[in-house]
Symmetry: C2
Subunit: 379 residues, 2 copies
């Protein structure tokens, strides 16, 4: 994997970059749609690529449990299995395991956990996390990290980031396969000095890229942005910086402003399936009665297939009637909204006007929020 910074915004940390992978190049800042179980939910890979997705994310935890990484490897790897021929980043499985709560135990050796599907017992170590990701044929792998929930005590965080560094080294040393990049994950909660310490121990080992972990895990939005502002500048500028599991459109705009290159989040796809549609102005809750006779598209400025061909009235009808096509069309719109936002972000960085872009975007969002409060009648 290689990474080149193409342009650096003169007035903030935003930058335009290019990541080279065995399955093609990725322009950054980039948003990665989430393909949890070997599919970006509801869409064919051609539809996903057609929306402008350059790279997608696969979930190691889910694919390990079902259908199993060995089976996927035997059938030619994840790219072939799911018919996605662009780059794939895989997470380490750690985050899902931490989410299991009572069903897991963490030791220095690794994580013991029970499957959410059938309760069967499993063990994930730094070594097996890499082994699984290599079997999947991942382009960009993530180290297994220990992820604490918010709030956590300072001494807990200290212990955890030390363990995360030891695990990161074990991950790096267990690599067997050429071609897959490996990213380290910086922990440290909301403490800048702990973030600094985590960055130092990881850069000493040396990784192809660095992710900020332990953000967007329940802390207030201001805390998240504060921690991000403190932690992002600590990451080496010569490597891609990845803000895991984030976030809202505003979060993406704020993240890029602070120098983040990569994002992933289930928000656009999950919201779509729940009938919540993104626009530059208000968020559209498509089931609302106010859209019953609305012949206009979700967003008249959107260039997506859904907005070019369907009315809000039709989308509301499909949603209310429980039709699967509702989820497909909504997912197309929301993903396109996110991916088009990233295109606009990259254009702004390329032109050296990102600070201005950010300011206007946040103002527009705020105005739309106020407008929504004013216009919110019975729906």
């Amino acid at each position: 994997m290689n990474f080149t910074v193409i342009a650096q915004d003169p007035a903030c940390a935003a930058r335009l970059g290019k990541i080279g992978t065995p399955h093609g190049e990725v322009l950054t800042p980039v948003f990665m749609p989430v393909g949890t179980q070997g599919t970006v939910k509801t869409l064919t890979p051609e539809q996903v690529a057609g929306l402008g997705a350059q790279i997608i994310l696969g979930n190691t935890y889910h694919l390990y449990l079902r259908p199993g990484h060995r089976l996927i490897q035997q059938l030619g790897g994840l790219h072939r299995f799911m018919n996605w021929h662009g780059p794939i980043l895989t997470d380490s499985g750690g985050f899902q395991i931490y989410s299991l709560g009572a069903l897991r135990t963490i030791t220095e050796e690794g994580a013991h956990f029970q499957s959410h599907i059938d309760g069967s017992r499993h063990f994930l170590s730094p070594e097996s996390a890499v082994e699984i990701q290599e079997a999947l044929g991942s382009d960009i792998m993530m180290c297994l990290d220990e992820c604490l929930s918010y709030p956590a005590e300072r001494d807990e965080i200290e212990k955890s980031l030390a363990r995360t560094a030891r695990w990161a080294l074990r991950c790096k040393e267990s690599r067997r396969r050429e071609g897959s990049a490996l990213f380290g994950i910086v922990q440290g909660g909301v403490y800048p000095d702990l973030r600094q310490r985590s960055v130092e121990s990881l850069t000493e080992i040396g990784f192809d890229g660095y992710a900020l972990g332990g953000l967007s895990v329940g802390e207030p939005k201001e805390k998240m942005l504060e921690s991000l502002a403190a932690a992002a500048p600590l990451l080496p500028s010569s490597r891609p910086r990845y803000l895991m599991g984030v976030g809202t459109p505003e979060d993406l705009v704020e993240g890029v402003y602070r120098g983040i290159d990569m994002f992933d989040c289930v928000m656009p796809t999950r919201s779509a399936r729940n009938g919540l549609l993104f626009t530059n102005g208000q968020k559209v809750v498509i089931k609302n009665a106010r859209y019953r006779e609305d012949g206009s598209p979700i967003d008249s400025t959107c260039d997506c297939y859904t907005c070019r061909n369907y009315s809000r009235a039709y989308l509301r009808h499909l949603y209310v009637a429980g039709e699967i096509l509702a989820m497909v069309l909504n997912t197309i719109h929301n993903l396109r909204y996110y991916l088009r936002l990233m295109e606009r972000i990259r254009d702004a960085v390329r032109d050296g006007r990102y600070s201005d872009f950010r300011r206007r975007f946040l103002e527009e969002q705020k105005a739309a929020d106020v407008g929504r409060e004013v216009s919110a009648g019975p729906a």
Copy 2:
């Protein structure tokens, strides 16, 4: 609407034809995918057209209840509402109402019924059935008929087909809109003389096409084929003949052999959503464990998107994991199977070798059935 017979098979009643509609031509024999609630379930209209669908069916009962024919009319008609630009045939709503059982009462005036959605009370007459279909902008409308379940007494059937003829006349007389064709529906159960009487009363009124109703309503397969063989030759050869709600691939082959031009059925789409996939050999129940590691496509002779890009193992994984893409990919395959079968049927009729085609097809199906019995082990 116009209809031209292009070729007549020399050895049986099969024929190749062409129906002209305001939204384009339809080559017959044709299979019409069912778009119950304004969507062929799970697929975009472009996907449906790409599979070779020439015309789809819309359900008057469902669209009348939700979102309402007036709303669809106000938004430019059903074609625009659902973004399908080819021909649409609409049923009369009658069949769905008969299926409601205790929730409906039939009088000479029409059908009183309760909505399956909210229990609200409604009334459908021959006149309103046409009014609704005209509001939808249907290319081919169906008369409201009285449909008895099987078995029914001869005198019941006699009364019913007389009413069906009176209703058909009322339907014809209530037409207001140019461009929509109207088909009559022949009843008469399994009695050839009653079928004859029904045909006579309908042809006297005169319709753009004729459908065989009251078949495939619970009678044994042999009875259905027997009634079909007796009734089909009675229909005027200068008009399209439509066998409603039928059926299996074998039924289509047998129907064409007896002179049927048009078919519709939910079987390919509904089976797909339940993981039952059609092939020329055995039917594939995709969730079976035997497909867990199967790297081959559903059907290696199939030219569909699903078979060109995905393994049975992947499709099984999606299905077992409850992924929506499973339903999309399965629907693509099953619809393509049906539509490709119709292409092969039309080719065989064009070449005057349909009897031979039918014999081989039925032999292959029989062999596959026997093979299935022999090979059926634990799955």
